[in-house]
Amino acid sequence: MDTIAIETRNVDFSFPRTGLTISSLNVKVKKGAIYGFLGPNGSGKTTSIRLMLGLLSPLKGTILLFGRELSKVAPGIFSRIGTLVETPSLYDHLSAFDNLRIVQRIKNIPVEAISESLSLVGLNDVVNKPVGKFSLGMKQRLGLAIALMSNPELLILDEPSNGLDPSGMLEVRELLLRLNKEKGITIMISSHLLSEIEKLVSHVGIINNGALIFQDTIGALQQFQQPLLHIKTNDNIQAVDFLQTSLPAKLNCENIELVIDGDDEVAGIAKKLMVAGYDIYDLHVSKGSLENIFISITDKRQKKA
């Protein structure tokens, strides 16, 4: 039995006019995983997802869904997949019910599934309201309901929390975790913010300028976390200038921050500041955020490019 839900092998793609290129994309999403597909805006996330769904044709390479080549199993394979690509595709002049009914008819699932999925996303009280009158967040929820309706084995969600308020984002996160845990649904979710999905995902792929620059478990990404030293002195502006002569210090609000290799560096830095005549009011070490790792990984690649 194949254990991979999505696999792209050396996929290349470029748009004729804009020239955005996907080069040698090798994504692997294991069955049962929640795969966070991360990258800054314009890095190629949506293009990659469109390629994975056959909405774009690759110039080179192979795309496999559940171990079988997409071109050979589409469109039948889509009965096992729920999708939400960018903004949800909704017919504004129709009600929420009619929008779901269109998908329900094609996927040949019971009509009851419509109210079940609307309840899942908290829209069961606006079943007959025209979608044109929905807020952005409600539309996003309805898009999720469409993706979830057929009880899919695989969910591909492109920035699903766009337009959702913080509590909505939390609800979606909890819903996806529950679906993954209880029903074993494999989820691929794209975002440009690691902080938004770091509590959700088991695996991470980072894409930048059309190339996959990191792909592993979230645990492996956490290993890149380095300790961050926070210092508060009587004159932070002068002190940061002083430290910058030998260390990568920077001023962040009321603190000086610098990445250190280990706790043993702390005493040396404190001594240096005191000898130079600065009074230290606060000194503590924290773990660098995953967001900083994400930014530093994508920044490094950008500078190289």
């Binding site: 997949i81 595709s89 017919y91």
Partner: protein, 252 residues
């Protein structure tokens, strides 16, 4: 699956301008002519031995030559605009339905709407003539019957003459996202067709063919005239090309 796809296509037109334009478009000519008959009713009283339906349908078919191409441009653009506006293609193409099936059912919807337009046109034309006959018995609509064979052939011929335009507008409408652009191209081509209708070889331009039917009832006529063949040839060639474009290259 065919029934579900057809039901979906019908649901998508619910509450859209396409639905209302079909209704209004089919009633437009009989209503306008009805108003003209009422305004100058003495002028329209037939001679003793004359069947009033002949003159009535001669006028209506002339109107049909001008209104139908415009109706087709508008309704086809509006039907595809439902998908463009809602970014519906990316949903449609990620459902377990083949592209040929999507193409064929969109075509069936468009063809069905145009057939409905003609049927409603016939219905409204009969109802309005009956009302006119009831208001002014001098019109003698109630004492006579229309030549149903001739009227049916005229309507079928009008449909055949518009099939070339239908195929071209169908292709343009799924390829071009802007409804204004598709409609603009269609209207400009229809106007060009109307202006160029008397030029040599003008019938080779699909947008001229419906206008070749002007004066249909006032002259001897056969069904299979050259321009009907031209329109049907356009229809077959363009439909085949657009089918391959849709199923192999079009991604929404």
């Amino acid at each position: 699956m065919h029934l579900q796809l057809l039901q979906n296509e019908l649901v998508k037109t619910k509450n859209t301008p396409a639905f209302w334009i079909t209704l209004i478009g089919s009633a437009f000519l009989p209503m306008m002519l009805g108003i003209a008959y009422l305004n100058e009713w003495v002028k329209f009283i037939p001679n003793t031995s004359e069947n009033p339906w002949l003159d009535y349908y001669a006028r209506l078919v002339n109107g049909l030559c001008i209104v139908t191409p415009l109706f087709i441009c508008l309704v086809v653009a509006l039907i595809f605009n439902v998908e463009h506006k809602s970014q519906g293609w990316k949903l449609v193409f990620t459902l377990p339905v083949s592209k040929p099936a999507i193409f064929i059912h969109k075509w069936l919807l468009v063809a069905g709407i145009i057939v409905l337009y003609y049927l409603l046109f016939l219905l409204f034309s009969i109802v309005i003539a009956m009302i006119l006959g009831a208001i002014h018995p001098e019109f003698k609509f109630l004492q006579n019957r229309p030549d149903s064979r001739e009227v049916t052939l005229a309507v079928l011929k009008s449909f055949a003459c518009n099939m070339g335009i239908l195929a071209i507008q169908f292709w343009l409408s799924f390829r071009i996202k802007s409804v204004v652009t598709t409609l603009g191209i269609g209207i400009a081509a229809v106007i060009t067709g109307l202006l160029a209708k008397d030029s040599t070889h003008a019938h080779l331009f699909a947008y001229v063919d419906p206008f070749k039917m002007l004066g249909y009832f006032y002259r001897p006529h056969i069904f299979w005239e050259n321009y009907v063949w031209v329109s049907l040839t356009y229809f077959i060639v363009i439909s085949v090309l657009s089918y391959f474009d849709f199923t192999r290259r079009f991604n929404g």
